[in-house]
């Protein structure tokens, strides 16, 4: 279709024609967008309804807990550790100019718990877990394993998607909580051993500035990101096109769309919590 339009434009350079083609293209894009939105909404509502309706598959959910939660620990832990460390180092270079070194503990703990731990963990998990989910379910789609599930009277939403969405939504907050602790500890290590701060006053400053809401908002964000990552992985895998290329595209789309959505929803949730 697109190539037809291009050819038309090349052969008939009439201004009206060009304008009409331009409008047609906009219209088509909007229709495609609406179609995709509709399909996604149906997919989401179907997924959520199966999360809450029995029968459940506890064994499968447990396995996803391991895959999504436990095996992501090293990645999330390393990310949090080095983020906390670099945060202390960078804020020191800035704050020491104004003799405001005492603010470093606060900057580290607030940045880590409110923003960096949930967002970076979300992005890392999107790359690790979202891609894996999309590739796995996409391959199952392409090799007709999903059709096979249906013919064996097993609902793929219940069997494949619900366990992943449940595990993603519940595991990411736990990962982020661990990331919070490791991230703050990373800042602590650098401040104490490299910048020569007093350990007890650093910890007091950290505790003084930290409020429950900082942690809670981060965990709520994490749950939302976990939901986004697992759902986008499932969605793109489930609608994968045929062949190796189809699965590859599904994987890419899953990672890209969940990363973007994480950043968008991070802004929205921050607005909700702190304004």
């Amino acid at each position: 279709m697109v190539s037809d339009v291009k050819q038309d434009q090349a052969s008939k350079p009439m201004p009206m024609e060009g304008l009409l083609n331009f409008c047609a293209r906009i219209g088509r894009t909007i229709l495609l967008f609406l179609q995709a939105t509709g399909r996604l909404s149906l997919f989401i509502s179907e997924s959520i309804s199966h999360v809450f309706r029995p029968p459940f598959f506890p064994k499968l959910i447990l396995r996803q807990f391991m895959d999504i939660g436990y095996y992501s620990l090293p990645v999330v832990g390393m990310t949090a550790l080095f983020t906390g460390m670099v945060l202390a180092l960078q804020s020191y270079t800035g704050f020491s100019r104004f003799n405001a070194e005492s603010a470093i503990a606060g900057v580290v703990v607030l940045s880590v718990t409110r923003e960096l731990s949930p967002v970076l963990a979300g992005l890392m998990v999107a790359g690790r877990v979202g891609a894996a989910i999309a590739a796995e379910i996409g391959t199952m789609r392409v090799t007709e394993q999903i059709d096979a599930l249906v013919t064996l009277s097993v609902n793929p939403f219940k069997y494949l998607i619900a366990p992943r969405v449940i595990a993603g939504t519940l595991m990411l907050p736990i990962l982020v909580l661990i990331g919070d602790i490791i991230g703050v500890y990373g800042g602590y290590i650098v401040s104490i051993h490299k910048l020569g701060f007093n350990p007890s006053s650093y910890l007091t400053q950290t505790w003084d500035i930290l409020e429950n809401m900082d942690i809670i908002s981060g965990l709520v964000k994490a749950a939302a990101f976990g939901f986004i990552v697992s759902l986008m992985g499932c969605y793109h895998g489930f609608n994968s096109q045929r062949g190796a290329q189809g699965v590859g595209a599904a994987t890419t789309n899953a990672v890209v769309s969940s990363s973007i959505l994480i950043l968008i929803f991070n802004y929205i949730l921050t607005q909700v919590f702190f304004s």
Binding site: M140, T143, E144, Q145, D147, A148, V150, T151, L152, S153, V154, N155, Y159
Partner: protein, 260 residues
């Protein structure tokens, strides 16, 4: 003929994807215990017809009757009940690669019907025996099996729950002629044992002749000929003749050329 309720009946089933009309009014009838094979070239709508019957795709119009009961547009629980009558052997076997062979065969029993694992294991072994595989294979993963063995496991899985209607999607594609014949024999044998009605789609005529009671030819989204397998060679239909003799010249290619 008229007083028997057909096991499976398609009435004017239509399905299009975008502007592409794949099924343009398919009419088909299979009587209980009979084996119908649909033949036809690639892209003529064989697989789509099958997926419509299975409920994997929703036809745009027309009706699909199973035991005289409408199955288009039924509720999910009713669909579940209908699915229990079905068994399906997929083209690429479609085995679950994260599970062992016996778990694949027993999957429908354990997850779909809630039978306990021990009983399901015994049934799975029985079914594996009936397709010529033994206990040592049961513990392997599908990736460790050859194509022919995967097909056999797929067949065992399809018949595991003693279905009333079994569907075969290109059962012999991708197999060597000897293994293809082994699979054909297994299909005939297991269908006889179950007394099941079967619907197969294939473009392998040797396979069609072996497993079919009746043959139907699909062309451009419609059934253009249906008759007993014995009359396949003198159908009097030019399209069928071209197809079964595999000639490059004939009405089918003429129309393709005319459209291009």
């Amino acid at each position: 003929m008229t007083d028997i309720t057909p096991k499976l009946e398609l009435k004017d089933v239509k399905k299009s994807f975008g502007t592409k009309k794949v099924l343009q009014g398919v009419n088909l009838k299979i009587n209980p215990g009979k084996s119908l094979v649909i033949i036809g070239g690639s892209g003529t709508g064989k697989s789509v017809a099958l997926k419509c019957i299975l409920g994997l795709l929703h036809p745009d119009s027309g009706s699909i009757l199973i035991d005289g009961q409408e199955s288009v547009g039924i509720s999910p629980p009713e669909r579940d009940q209908v699915m229990r009558k079905f068994g399906m052997l997929f083209q690429g076997a479609a085995l679950f690669d994260s599970m062992r062979v016996w778990e694949n065969v027993a999957f429908g029993l354990i997850q779909g019907r809630g039978i306990d694992r021990r009983t399901a294991y015994d049934t799975a072994l029985d079914k594996l025996h009936s397709v010529g595989l033994d206990e040592s294979v049961a513990q392997l993963y599908p990736a460790e099996l050859s194509g022919g063995m995967q097909k056999r496991v797929g067949l065992a899985r399809a018949i595991a729950a003693d279905p009333e209607i079994i569907f075969f999607d290109e059962p012999t594609t991708g197999l060597d002629p000897i293994m293809a014949d082994v699979i054909n024999n297994l299909i005939v044998k297991s269908v006889k044992q179950l007394g099941a009605t079967t619907l197969s789609i294939t473009h392998d005529l040797a396979s069609a002749r072996k497993i079919a009671d009746e043959v139907a030819m699909i062309y451009q989204g419609q059934i253009i000929w249906q008759g007993p397998v014995s009359s396949l060679d003198h159908s009097g239909n030019e399209y069928v003749d071209q197809f079964i003799h595999g000639r490059a010249e004939g009405p089918i290619t003429d129309e393709i050329k005319a459209r291009a």
